[in-house]
């Protein structure tokens, strides 16, 4: 009996010591999720600590979702993490700030985009597209040209596409200064923006064999807008990837004088992909599926890419 009383006493003392020192084990993710859900603002900082680099993807995701649900109540903690600190935590905080449209989220994203020490600046590019403030166009256009990471450049192009026609000139004006890969992204997005002011830049890129494939994709995607150009001659290009994009473009642009050439290519081109895309292009004229000839001599309808 005495022994048991001593044991309980020991436990109570230990618990009191832990409680008083404030050095107890950190709360679990589950406990923080529950506290955040009940509006306990003290839990937000703890959730942000689960977004750091050395936590697992699953833990980071759970913490992110819990803060997303907490919403604007968590703004002070989120904005502090968006300004600096662990790259993973900062990435998630920037995304949260943008999703929740928090005050100061635009400035935090621009700072992160221009911060050379922040290795995840792609999240800032995405955030600026999400926030949608037109003042983001120039910093994003600069990032396409000069950001260190390829992913940031690609996300910046995509973010710019969300601004629609306002982004055409800021994107296009830097085209000549861009390395080939980024030029390719930009040309394609100019095609998706379907603005005639972008067309001269795309047509010029046809002259360069490195960007010809991207330019043809863009012309096809843009459709019959602005200056007209005949892309028929590119069906004879020596690069089969250019021939694929040329076939797609003449189909989308409904270039009637390409029909005979497409009919030839769907049976005789030495590359199967060109035969398939020629048949797909002919189907755009015919309004019905058109077959291509396989190398074993059978006729086959290509997969429908837009079902």
């Amino acid at each position: 009996m005495m022994l048991r009383a001593n044991f309980y006493l020991l436990i109570v003392t230990a618990l009191l010591l832990i409680g008083c020192s404030g050095n107890g084990p950190p709360p679990s993710l589950k406990a923080l999720e529950e506290r955040a859900a009940s509006g306990d603002s003290a839990a937000y900082k703890g959730l942000l600590d689960f977004m750091v680099e050395d936590k697992s993807q699953a833990e980071r995701s759970r913490a992110y979702i819990a803060l997303l649900k907490a919403g604007r109540d968590a703004a002070p903690a989120i904005m502090a993490a968006a300004a600096e600190g662990d790259p993973s935590q900062r990435e998630h905080a920037i995304a949260l700030a943008a999703n929740l449209k928090l005050e100061g989220s635009f400035e935090a994203a621009v700072n992160a985009l221009n911060d050379p020490s922040f290795p995840r600046s792609h999240s800032a590019a995405w955030a600026l597209g999400e926030i949608g403030d037109i003042k983001a166009i120039e910093p994003l256009a600069d990032a396409v040209l000069s950001s260190k990471g390829e992913l940031t450049a690609r996300e910046a192009v995509r973010a710019l596409a969300r601004f629609g026609k306002s982004a055409v000139i800021p994107l296009a004006k830097n085209l000549e200064k861009m390395p080939p890969l980024r030029k390719g992204y930009t040309l394609r997005v100019l095609g998706e923006l379907r603005d005639e002011r972008g067309k001269p830049y795309i047509i010029k890129a046809l002259d360069d064999p490195v960007t010809r494939e991207d330019a043809l994709w863009a012309l096809g995607t843009m459709g019959r807008i602005g200056e007209s150009i005949n892309t028929l001659s590119y069906l004879d290009d020596k690069d089969w990837r250019v021939r694929v994009e040329a076939a797609r473009a003449v189909g989308l642009l409904q270039e009637d004088d390409a029909k005979a050439k497409l009919d030839y290519l769907r049976a005789e081109d030495p590359v199967k992909a060109v035969r398939e895309w020629s048949a797909r292009a002919m189907a755009l004229f015919e309004g019905n599926p058109v077959e291509y000839k396989t190398f074993s001599g059978e006729w086959k309808v290509p997969d429908s890419l837009y079902h």
Partner: protein
């Protein structure tokens, strides 16, 4: 609890036998579902049964999957009339897709013909794959093209544990046509394709449904809203098809 197990197995056996009674088949409806049920032996607790339509590639996603199975290996599934292949797999590493390796539990494909309203009793006998390092499922499929690359995070580091999904349509909705094994610590993947063609790719850590907030996900794309196509020719391996994944915000 132990005493309950034989009793439970007896009930299952009785149910399976009852299921074999074809006299219960409804007449008239040629599309009526039929129950295929049985027990996977070994025991096959936590194994998964993959049901493919005849002609499907066993390396791709199945029409449906059953499991992970309970401790007794019992299973049941309702299927429309048709021909199917049943395969049981239990990967030692706990994956639910990817090549079957030495030490994994498996069965050979078992062809099942389902007629309208006629239940079928089917027992599966799994065995441990050993001795042959080559994947045996889908051996009949001859691959003509292949994609290779790395899955990286935003900082260019390799990402482990994601799969590449290949779609044959630009919307990338519904089920992918082909799925790679999970990437290892080096983030590298290989995706064998039965034929060359135009594919749209994504890499993700989850399977099924659209990507959700918190998932790890990335598409192969050229900065555009529309996913970018990857074109690979028969007889070719296209290398360097790298995809960057990041958290879905």
């Amino acid at each position: 609890m132990k005493r309950l197990i034989p009793c439970f197995l007896f009930i299952l056996t009785a149910l399976a036998l009852a299921g074999c009674d074809s006299s219960k088949a409804p007449e008239g409806d040629p599309t009526a579902l039929s129950t295929v049920s049985g027990i996977a032996y070994r025991p096959a607790e936590a194994a998964t049964i993959y049901v493919y339509r005849v002609g499907d590639d066993f390396r791709g996603p199945p029409m449906t999957r059953i499991g992970p199975l309970a401790f007794d290996g019992s299973f049941s599934v309702d299927l429309p009339p048709g021909e199917y292949n049943f395969l049981l797999r239990q990967r030692a590493e706990g994956d639910d897709s990817g090549p079957v390796k030495e030490g994994d539990l498996k069965t050979d494909p078992i062809k099942v013909v389902v007629a309208a309203g006629r239940p079928i009793s089917l027992d599966l006998k799994g065995f441990i794959k050993e001795g042959n390092a080559k994947e045996s499922f889908g051996e009949e499929v001859k691959y003509k093209a292949r994609l290779e690359g790395r899955i990286t995070d935003a900082e260019g580091g390799p990402v482990e544990g994601v799969r590449v999904h290949a779609y044959d349509h630009v919307q990338m909705s519904e089920r992918p046509k082909f799925v790679s094994a999970r990437t290892g610590p080096d983030g590298r993947y290989e995706l064998n394709l039965p034929e060359g063609g135009t594919y749209y790719l994504c890499a993700r850590d989850q399977y099924g449904g659209p990507p959700k907030v918190g998932d790890l996900y990335g598409r192969y794309y050229m900065g555009t809203v529309e996913p970018s196509a990857v074109i690979v020719e028969d007889g070719n391996t296209l290398e360097g098809v790298d995809i960057t994944v990041h958290t879905v915000w």
